[in-house]
C-alpha cells in the first residue's frame, strides 16, 4: 500500500483539520461552575445553568472570548467587529439544553493562516502556509457513561458547558507528517498564549481530520471526504492519516470511489474502521441565540488583545538562532516545551549576570544541552515541569558556570544536578559537600603524576616504545590518585609534558 504514497505515484492527499481546543478559564463558557478537566468525581462541577434547568440563561465568559480572539489573532485571522452565538439543535443525553450554543455564520475569527516548517528538498526545510478557515467558540457536552453489564447509562455533566475553540483549516495539508507538524505548532501557540493545555492524551485538544485523495493529474478537490474520529495522540494522528490515505488511494487505484463516511481510529487494530452509520445529514436548525447579545469588538479591545500576545514559538525560534546561535534541532526541542524555554531563558539571564559581561555563546550552548539532556530527563522521570522543580534558574546557571570554568567535571556535574533536583540548594555547596570539586592545581596534579610515573615503569616504557594505549592507562591511574577530581585536560597536558 505504501507504494501509493510515493509522490511519483501521483495520488495526492488532501487533508483539512478540525481541532477542538478546550480553553483554560476559571469557569465554564456560560456559567460560574468551575472549568476543571482534571475533576474525576462525576457531576461535581455543575450548577442549574450547565445542567439546563428550566428558566436558566447563559452569560458569555469574557475570558473565553478574549482567549478566542487572541488565538485567532495569533493565527493571523481577521476578527470582525461583530460576532454572535447560535443554537445548534439536536437531542442527546449529554447535551442538557437540547441545543449546543455555538457559532454558525459569524465566528470570532476567520481567514487566517499558520506557516509551518516542512521537510524540503535536499534534506532542508521549507515554509508552508496552512490557511485557517475559521475559529469559533462553543460549549462542550457532558459525557455519557455506560457501566458494563448495566441496563442503564449515566451522564456526567462536569464537562458540559466548558469552553471550546473549534479551529478549522482549509484542505491545505498534504501528508500525515505535515498534519503532525501543524498540530504541534498549533499546540505550542495555544500553550504559549496560555489559552489551554492542548493535551491530546487528556482530551483538551481533539482532532478530526478530513481526508481525501486526488487521482494523478486531478486538479480539483475530490468529490468526497472521510472524517476520522477517536484520535487522541499525535502518534495516532499520524498513523490514522497515513492509513486513511493508503486505504483511499488503493480504492482509487482500483477504479473505485471511497465512500463519504466517518471513520474511527482503532489503535489495537492499527486501522480506521467505519463508525456506526450516523444519522443522515443532521439538520441542526441553527438560529441566532436570543439569550445572548451580539459580541462587539471595539478597535481598542482588539488592539489591546493583539498587544497581549506573547512571543510565539516561531518568533522565539528565530530569536534563539539570532541571539544564541543554537543549532536548529536544539532550538526546536527547547521551544517545544514552553516552561523549559522559560527556564532556559531565565538561566541565561542569570548567566549574564554571573558572567558580568555579554554572554559568551558557549554558555548558551551548554545551558541548552544541560536543559535538553540531564535536566529534561530528571523532569520527565518526576513528571513535573521546570518551574515546579527545586532547581532554580539561578542555581542552574551557577552549575553551568562551574562546569564551564572546569571547577567541576561534567560527570560530577550530573551528580550535583541530581542532588539539586532532589533537595534544592546551591551547586557550589553541594559540590563541596559531595567532595566533587575538580582539581586543576598544577602542583597537586604534578605530584600525583610523579607518583604514578615512578610506580608504573613498565607502562611508561611501553608508551615511550609507541604503545598509545599505555597513555590512557597512566591518565586513569593519575585520575584514581586524584580521586576522580582531576581536571582531565590538565592531567593530560601535564602527563604528556612529563613523558616527553
Amino acid at each position: 500500500m505504501a507504494e501509493n504514497l510515493k509522490p511519483s505515484s501521483g495520488y495526492a492527499p488532501v487533508i483539512g483539520l478540525e481541532i477542538h481546543v478546550q480553553l483554560k478559564t476559571k469557569s465554564k463558557m456560560f456559567c460560574d461552575s468551575p472549568n476543571n478537566p482534571d475533576e474525576t468525581a462525576p457531576n461535581k462541577n455543575i450548577c442549574e445553568i450547565c445542567t439546563g434547568q428550566p428558566g436558566t440563561l447563559p452569560v458569555a465568559n469574557r475570558e473565553a472570548v478574549r482567549l478566542a480572539v487572541i488565538v485567532g489573532q495569533a493565527l493571523n485571522c481577521r476578527i470582525e467587529e461583530y460576532s454572535k452565538f447560535d443554537r445548534k439543535n439536536y437531542f442527546y443525553p449529554d447535551l442538557p439544553k437540547g441545543y449546543q450554543i455555538s457559532q454558525y455564520d459569524r465566528p470570532i475569527a476567520q481567514n487566517g493562516y499558520l506557516d509551518i516548517e516542512v521537510p524540503g528538498e535536499n534534506g532542508g526545510s521549507a515554509s508552508k502556509r496552512i490557511r485557517i478557515r475559521r475559529a469559533h467558540l462553543e460549549e462542550d457536552a457532558g459525557k455519557n457513561i455506560h457501566p458494563e453489564g448495566a441496563d442503564y447509562s449515566l451522564v456526567d455533566f462536569n464537562r458540559a458547558g466548558t469552553p471550546l475553540l473549534e479551529i478549522v483549516t482549509e484542505p491545505d495539508i498534504a501528508s500525515a507528517k505535515e498534519a503532525k507538524i501543524f498540530l504541534q505548532e498549533l499546540r505550542n501557540i495555544i500553550r504559549y498564549i496560555g489559552a489551554g493545555s492542548a493535551d491530546m492524551e487528556k482530551g483538551t485538544m481533539r482532532l478530526e481530520p478530513n481526508i481525501s485523495v486526488r487521482k494523478p493529474g486531478q486538479l480539483e478537490l475530490p468529490a468526497y471526504k472521510v472524517e476520522v474520529k477517536n484520535i487522541n495522540s499525535f502518534r495516532f494522528a499520524e498513523s490514522a492519516i497515513e492509513y486513511e490515505i493508503a486505504r483511499q488511494a488503493e480504492i482509487l487505484k482500483e477504479g473505485g470511489m471511497p465512500k463519504q463516511v466517518t471513520m474511527g481510529w482503532n489503535e489495537k487494530a492499527g486501522q480506521t474502521m467505519e463508525q456506526r452509520e450516523k444519522e443522515e445529514a443532521n439538520d441542526y436548525r441553527y438560529f441566532p441565540e436570543p439569550d445572548l447579545p451580539i459580541l462587539h469588538f471595539s478597535k481598542e479591545y482588539l488592539e489591546e488583545a493583539l498587544a497581549s500576545i506573547p512571543e510565539l514559538p516561531a518568533q522565539k525560534r528565530a530569536r534563539f538562532k539570532r541571539e544564541y546561535g543554537l543549532p536548529d534541532a536544539d532550538i526546536r526541542n527547547l521551544t517545544e516545551w514552553k516552561e523549559l524555554t522559560e527556564f532556559f531563558e531565565e538561566a541565561i539571564s542569570e548567566l549574564d549576570e554571573l558572567a558580568g559581561k555579554a554572554l559568551p555563546l558557549k554558555f548558551a550552548k551548554m545551558a541548552a544541552n544541560w536543559c535538553l539532556q540531564d535536566f529534561s530527563a530528571l523532569l520527565n522521570a518526576a513528571k513535573i515541569n521546570p518551574l515546579e522543580s527545586k532547581v532554580t534558574p539561578h542555581n542552574f546557571a551557577e552549575l553551568i558556570k562551574l562546569i564551564e570554568q572546569s571547577k567541576i567535571s561534567a560527570t560530577a556535574g550530573k551528580q550535583v544536578l541530581a542532588k539539586m533536583f532532589e533537595l534544592g540548594g546551591e551547586p557550589s555547596r553541594i559540590m563541596e559537600d559531595l567532595g566533587l570539586a575538580q582539581v586543576s592545581d598544577a602542583a597537586v596534579i604534578e605530584q600525583a603524576i610523579n607518583k604514578v610515573v615512578s610506580e608504573n615503569a613498565k607502562a611508561v616504557a611501553d608508551y615511550k616504545a609507541g604503545l598509545q594505549k599505555s597513555f590512557g592507562f597512566l591518565v586513569g591511574m593519575a585520575m584514581k590518585e586524584l580521586k576522580g577530581k582531576g581536571n582531565p585536560q590538565v592531567v593530560n597536558d601535564l602527563l604528556k609534558k612529563k613523558l616527553e
Binding site: E48, T51, G52, Q53, P54, G55, T56, L57, P58, V59, A60, R87, N89, F91, P93, P96, K97, G98, Y99, V155, D283, R285, Y286, F287, P290, D291, L292, P293
Partner: protein, 513 residues
C-alpha cells in the same frame, strides 16, 4: 376598605401602624384562597406553611425596625412559570408536574429580599402558550366576574387571583399579550415591562427574544412600586439593560398637562366589540380632561405583527422546549425501550396539544432551506416594526388603545380554535415584538357577546364584563405609562370594582384600631 381588595400601599400602612400583622394578613388570604380557589382555579399550589413562616419573620422585622420596605409582610402570588426554590414549578405542564427547582428566579429572589410573602403559584396556559388558561394541564382558571368565562391568558391564574381578592399582587409574564389581555378580561391592572428591564433569569423561557417579566395588581401605583423592585440589570441575564431604575412611584403624576397621547387608527380594528370601543373612547376623553393632548397617529405595519409573531414564537419555542427530554428532571416515560423512545414517549406524554403544535411549527420554520424564508425574514420585518414605533414616539409620549378587542368569552368558545390566541392578541403583539412597555388598566364594563372573538354575529348576552385600556410607551418609557395610568386612576374607580361573588361577608379579622 377590606384587605382583600386593598392596594399594597394601604396594606403597608396597616402593617406599619400595627393595625394588623403579616401573619394575620397572610392567614386571611390563605383562608380566602381555601374558600374561593375551587371556584376559579387560580392557584395550582398554595404554600401555606412556608407563607406563615415567612410572615412570622416579616412581623419580627416590622417589630424590630422603624423603617420597612413597602413589600415587607405583603402576600403575593407567582405565575407558575417562575422557578421558586423548593416550591413545585410546573409551567402548567405534565412534563414538569413534580419539578421542584433548586433555585429562585431573579425576580422572585428580589421579592423575597423585600420580605414579601409567597402565597403560592398561579395557573397559566401550558408553558404560557395561549390566551385563556385552557391549555393548562391542570384545568382552566375561571373569570371571577363570571365563572363560566375565561380569565384570559396566559397569566390567567395571576389575573383571576388578583381580581378575586386572593392576592393583592401576582407576578406574571408576557410574550404577546399574556399580561395585558387577562388583566383586561379580569378588570385588574397589568404591567408588561420594556424587554430587558426585568431579568428573565429563572422564568421558564417561551420566546427568549420577547419574553417580559411583569406583574398584575390592583392599581398602577402598586405596579410602579413593584417595578422598582423587579427592574434592573441582572448579571445572570445578558439581555437586561444597564439603565438606572427610577423611583417610578414617587414621580407619579396626577395631571397630564403637556403629555402627548397618540391614538393609532390601526388599533381600532374590525370585529372589536362596540362596548369595548365605547369604553376605550370614554377613557381617552378622560385623558384629554387630565390635560393630555390627543393625537391621531398611524402604524401601518401593525398587521404584520401577528405574522412575525407566528414565526418567531414557535421557532424559539421549539428550541426552548428541547430541554424537557426526561433525562435530568421532569416526567420520563416508563415504557421506553431505548433512547429514541425516552425522547418520543416522554415528550408525547408530557406535552399538551398546543405545545406540540408550536414545536412542530417552529421546527419546520427553522429547518434548512426554510430558515431564510421564515425566521430570518420575520426578524427583518420585526426590525421595521421597531422603526415604525420609534418614529411615532418621536411625536407622542405614549399610545392608547384597547387591551383586548373583546370582553371575556365563554370557557370552551376558544378551546377548539387554535387561532383564537393569535386574533385576540392582535392589539398586543406589535408592541411585544418591539419590546415596548405597556399597561392595561380597567376602564369600565361592557356587554359580553359569546364567541371566541366576540364576533359580530354573536348574540348579546347582557352580562357586564370588564374592559381594559391599553397604554403603550417607548422603550424604557415606564414612567410615562405609569404616569398616564395613575392619573387616569385618580379620576376613575374602575380599578376598585369587586366581583360580587368574591366580596367578603365579614371584613378582615384582627383589626385593632
Amino acid at each position: 376598605m377590606d384587605a382583600s381588595f386593598s392596594e399594597i400601599s394601604e396594606l403597608h400602612e396597616k402593617l406599619k401602624n400595627k393595625e394588623i400583622s403579616s401573619v394575620e394578613l397572610t392567614e386571611y388570604f390563605l383562608q380566602r384562597i381555601k374558600k374561593h380557589n375551587p371556584q376559579i382555579n387560580a392557584y395550582l399550589t398554595v404554600t401555606e406553611d412556608a407563607a406563615l413562616e415567612e410572615a412570622k419573620e416579616a412581623d419580627k422585622i416590622i417589630a424590630r425596625r422603624g423603617k420597612i420596605s413597602v413589600f415587607t409582610g405583603i402576600p403575593f402570588g407567582i405565575k407558575d412559570l417562575f422557578c421558586t426554590k423548593g416550591i413545585r414549578t410546573t409551567a402548567s405542564s405534565k412534563i414538569l408536574e413534580n419539578y421542584v427547582p433548586p433555585f429562585d428566579a431573579t425576580s422572585v429572589q428580589k421579592m423575597r429580599a423585600e420580605n414579601a410573602i409567597i402565597l403560592g403559584k398561579t395557573n397559566l396556559d401550558e408553558f404560557a402558550h395561549g390566551s385563556s388558561t385552557e391549555t393548562s394541564a391542570f384545568g382552566e382558571s375561571k373569570n371571577p366576574w363570571d365563572t363560566s368565562r375565561i380569565p384570559g391568558g396566559s397569566s390567567g391564574g395571576s389575573a383571576a387571583a388578583v381580581a378575586a381578592g386572593l392576592a393583592p399582587l401576582a407576578l406574571a409574564t408576557e410574550t404577546g399579550g399574556s399580561i395585558r389581555q387577562p388583566s383586561s378580561l379580569c378588570g385588574v391592572s397589568g404591567w408588561k415591562p420594556t424587554y430587558g428591564r426585568v431579568s428573565r433569569y429563572g422564568v421558564i423561557s417561551m420566546t427568549s427574544s420577547n419574553d417580559s417579566i411583569g406583574a398584575i395588581g390592583r392599581s398602577v401605583r402598586d405596579l410602579a412600586l413593584t417595578a422598582e423592585v423587579m427592574s434592573g440589570r441582572d448579571e445572570k441575564d445578558a439581555t437586561t439593560g444597564n439603565r438606572e431604575v427610577p423611583q417610578y412611584s414617587a414621580n407619579l403624576r396626577t395631571n397630564l398637562k403637556g403629555m402627548k397621547i397618540g391614538v393609532p387608527a390601526e388599533y381600532f380594528i374590525d370585529g372589536m366589540e362596540d362596548d369595548v370601543k365605547k369604553r376605550v373612547l370614554d377613557a381617552i376623553e378622560e385623558l384629554r380632561k387630565l390635560g393630555a393632548e390627543i393625537i391621531d397617529v398611524s402604524l401601518p405595519l401593525t398587521k404584520y405583527g401577528s405574522l412575525v409573531y407566528a414565526i418567531v414564537t414557535p421557532s424559539e419555542i421549539s428550541s426552548n422546549l428541547s430541554r424537557f427530554d426526561g433525562i435530568r428532571y421532569g416526567h420520563q416515560a416508563k415504557d421506553a425501550r431505548d433512547l429514541a423512545e425516552i425522547y418520543s414517549k416522554t415528550r408525547a406524554q408530557g406535552f399538551g396539544d398546543e405545545a406540540k403544535r408550536r414545536i412542530m411549527t417552529g421546527t419546520y420554520a427553522l429547518s434548512a432551506g426554510y430558515y431564510e424564508a421564515y425566521y430570518l425574514k420575520a426578524q427583518k420585518v420585526r426590525r421595521l416594526l421597531v422603526d415604525e414605533f420609534n418614529n411615532v414616539f418621536e411625536k407622542v409620549d405614549c399610545l392608547v388603545c384597547a387591551s383586548s378587542p373583546n370582553v371575556a368569552p365563554k370557557i370552551g368558545a376558544a378551546k377548539d380554535n387554535p387561532l383564537f390566541g393569535y386574533i385576540a392578541d392582535q392589539l398586543n403583539i406589535p408592541a411585544a415584538m418591539a419590546g415596548l412597555p405597556a399597561l392595561s388598566v380597567p376602564c369600565g364594563f361592557g356587554a359580553a357577546r359569546d364567541g371566541a372573538d366576540g364576533g359580530a354575529s354573536s348574540s348579546v348576552a347582557g352580562v357586564q364584563m370588564p374592559v381594559g385600556l391599553q397604554i403603550i410607551g417607548p422603550q424604557w418609557g415606564e414612567q410615562k405609562i405609569f404616569d398616564a395610568g395613575h392619573a387616569y386612576q385618580t379620576v376613575t374607580d374602575w380599578h376598585k370594582k369587586m366581583p360580587p361573588d368574591f366580596v367578603p361577608a365579614s371584613p378582615l379579622p384582627g383589626k385593632r384600631k
